[in-house]
Symmetry: C4
Subunit: 238 residues, 4 copies
Amino acid sequence: MEHNELRGRVAAANRQIASAGLVELSFGNVSGVDRAAGLFAIKPSGVACSELVPDQVVLVSLDDGRVVEGELRPSSDTPTHLHLYRSFDEIGGVVHTHSPFATSWAQARRPIPCFGTTHADHFHGEVPVTRPLRADEVGGDYEMSTGEVIAETFLGNGLDPLHHPGVLVASHGPFTWGADPDEAVMNAVAVEVIARMAYQTLGISGDASPIEPFLLDRHFQRKHGPNAYYGQSVPPGT
Amino acid sequence: MEHNELRGRVAAANRQIASAGLVELSFGNVSGVDRAAGLFAIKPSGVACSELVPDQVVLVSLDDGRVVEGELRPSSDTPTHLHLYRSFDEIGGVVHTHSPFATSWAQARRPIPCFGTTHADHFHGEVPVTRPLRADEVGGDYEMSTGEVIAETFLGNGLDPLHHPGVLVASHGPFTWGADPDEAVMNAVAVEVIARMAYQTLGISGDASPIEPFLLDRHFQRKHGPNAYYGQSVPPGT
Amino acid sequence: MEHNELRGRVAAANRQIASAGLVELSFGNVSGVDRAAGLFAIKPSGVACSELVPDQVVLVSLDDGRVVEGELRPSSDTPTHLHLYRSFDEIGGVVHTHSPFATSWAQARRPIPCFGTTHADHFHGEVPVTRPLRADEVGGDYEMSTGEVIAETFLGNGLDPLHHPGVLVASHGPFTWGADPDEAVMNAVAVEVIARMAYQTLGISGDASPIEPFLLDRHFQRKHGPNAYYGQSVPPGT
Amino acid sequence: MEHNELRGRVAAANRQIASAGLVELSFGNVSGVDRAAGLFAIKPSGVACSELVPDQVVLVSLDDGRVVEGELRPSSDTPTHLHLYRSFDEIGGVVHTHSPFATSWAQARRPIPCFGTTHADHFHGEVPVTRPLRADEVGGDYEMSTGEVIAETFLGNGLDPLHHPGVLVASHGPFTWGADPDEAVMNAVAVEVIARMAYQTLGISGDASPIEPFLLDRHFQRKHGPNAYYGQSVPPGT
């Protein structure tokens, strides 16, 4: 069995979304890509994230979405993951959950406004929401269309997928991504935290406003910009 | 002592609704049926679900609701379970809880609208709510009348109990069911998740609309229809 | 050291309100009475409930509220407990918490309407709220006045403390009681569950109505009335 | 390595805000000061609070904010902590979190009204909120400006930092403090509890009023005033 490291990382990331409380039942999946090998690894369909082991992880071709290795059927959301890897060259991991607060915003079909710095630390602006899928899209290759409407949301609005590392699919739930599966999981946690706080902010002040662009920029850049000074990647004293 | 396997499954399912956070105190019960033997197994009254052991499970006749075997008094909701097994031939397990979000919808006497795909994965439309019971029903054989008003809700509206695997009893709480006790428990978890998300969706957008019928159908059918492709019952690559 | 059994029960009940999630920091206390001995046992002030051991429990005289035995200062709420034991002859245990949903209703100075059967299983009508204390009461023997305003709420409205086993003190939080400390703790759990569901019910339907008196009576009586048939105190088959 | 005791206390306090559920990801930090030594100890940047060990704690000069000892980069919020220690002579520990309810009030840019005695036990009036920072403040030494706007909020309104042991930074989140790191952590827990209850109180009664000044005074003084009688610092029987 090949690609053991990738399988291991993807299995661990799937268990992590369960232990972080983002997943009930089997509503969630994580994948990770190996672009050099032309494939990605993804959770099998209908298996609980909390108990996933590396041998159950399925390898899928980046070319045609067919199973390369694995005895189980891959997640029914596999075509969505495939389309995201093809559309967003910079990403190495994708997470889908039905985490409760983020899904509630998706169900309300509203983007999550950036009400504070917790949000700005992760997204350079609102968490976008896709348009609803049309009947022909839902009736056709539905899961592929889900990927397409995500890509359309980003390309049509000139959004950078690394500056907005996630999206709400209307009436469905969040997809997030990152440089690798771990970062995609961290962004799934962040989207749920952001969604909860925004929900509660509206409960306190129904007409709350998004933060000023200069505050948004400062927080996003201090973690993600060329002069980032958050974390340990820059030595102390500089 | 006979029917040890059924007792064991029913005891485990009762412990599971406690560990899933659906039950506080002793507000909940699970039963499972053995139609060939003409009986069902159910939790005793007033015993905490979290500590139930197989020997405490009570066996009750499908014919007349009398105790067949067991030293403890069966759940006071036993006549409701009995009537559900008699009315819905397809079901093998029944769960009753007072899980907090689902019970809140029951108390508001509103069906839960289908706001998203999490819901559509489990219910082919809204989670129905019964009419309130009348004074004569409450004053008479109350728990049997609870079963009757559930059956009336389904028969009167032409609902298929396998397509709507649960109901809210007005001012009371949810009952769910399934092919066996485990599936009934999974549907109890699903109803609580659905109820929470719908509550939060209304908090974000008070005039949120149910999803389009084509999206509802697609999600329900991909898990439950004749061409279902979710889970592992279909081999990969098909 | 005498009264070891009572100390042990009271210590256990204090740990239980912590493990049930009703208490943050040191905001809570449980007491239990021994009427024959003319004293009650109560948590010391400022000690975390979660770590309470029997030796720390303080014994207080039912006559004058003075410490009979114990090296620590008793809870600052001791005069409230004292007044409740004196006013309500039927009770054997008292619990005070600042559990979050019940306290929110107390802060809103609204009684909790009986929106469903979960509530009716424990309270024969709404969970009452006291009038706000006056400046002279707060400035005088404040904790004793808290007990007095609770007794006034019950006596003035003809409420039976065993049919309404708890109250919300306006702007403060819930006090509950029962035949013994364990039952008082169970009622503290029930009040928090009831308060949460009522809060959520209002969120779904702002004009929700209390349940019909016949449903209220049926549920309360099936657990607490002379012909109660809930739990194991009546043999099966009767 | 010096100052081992301080490092140990600060590491433990950081782990405590994680175990208390106040911190997701790395959104939080605790520091503690040694005024005699002219330095404070603080969490490193981007490290999870839940796993912090004493050797990772960074020592920073109270004079110029430079690292005195430690191999990791200190928290990006270090200049805010520095300014608080300089502005408020009485404090020995500072906590910053993005705890969800307190942050929601900060995002709504509303002070938390004192709706009950849980609040009055910790704050002698509302939990204040700062004005939003201006573009020049955010664009300049942002974290120092955060400290400055907190000090401005207290000095401008004549607030005593020991009577209001915390603040909401607009669009950001809570900072709390105390005589030492442990007390600062307790106040961080208290602010989150207070924020949650106030949120829920508004959900029950949108026009709820703050409590009367005489009740506010009584509760605050019974724990913090010259004649305090809460806890074990006064012997029993007095």
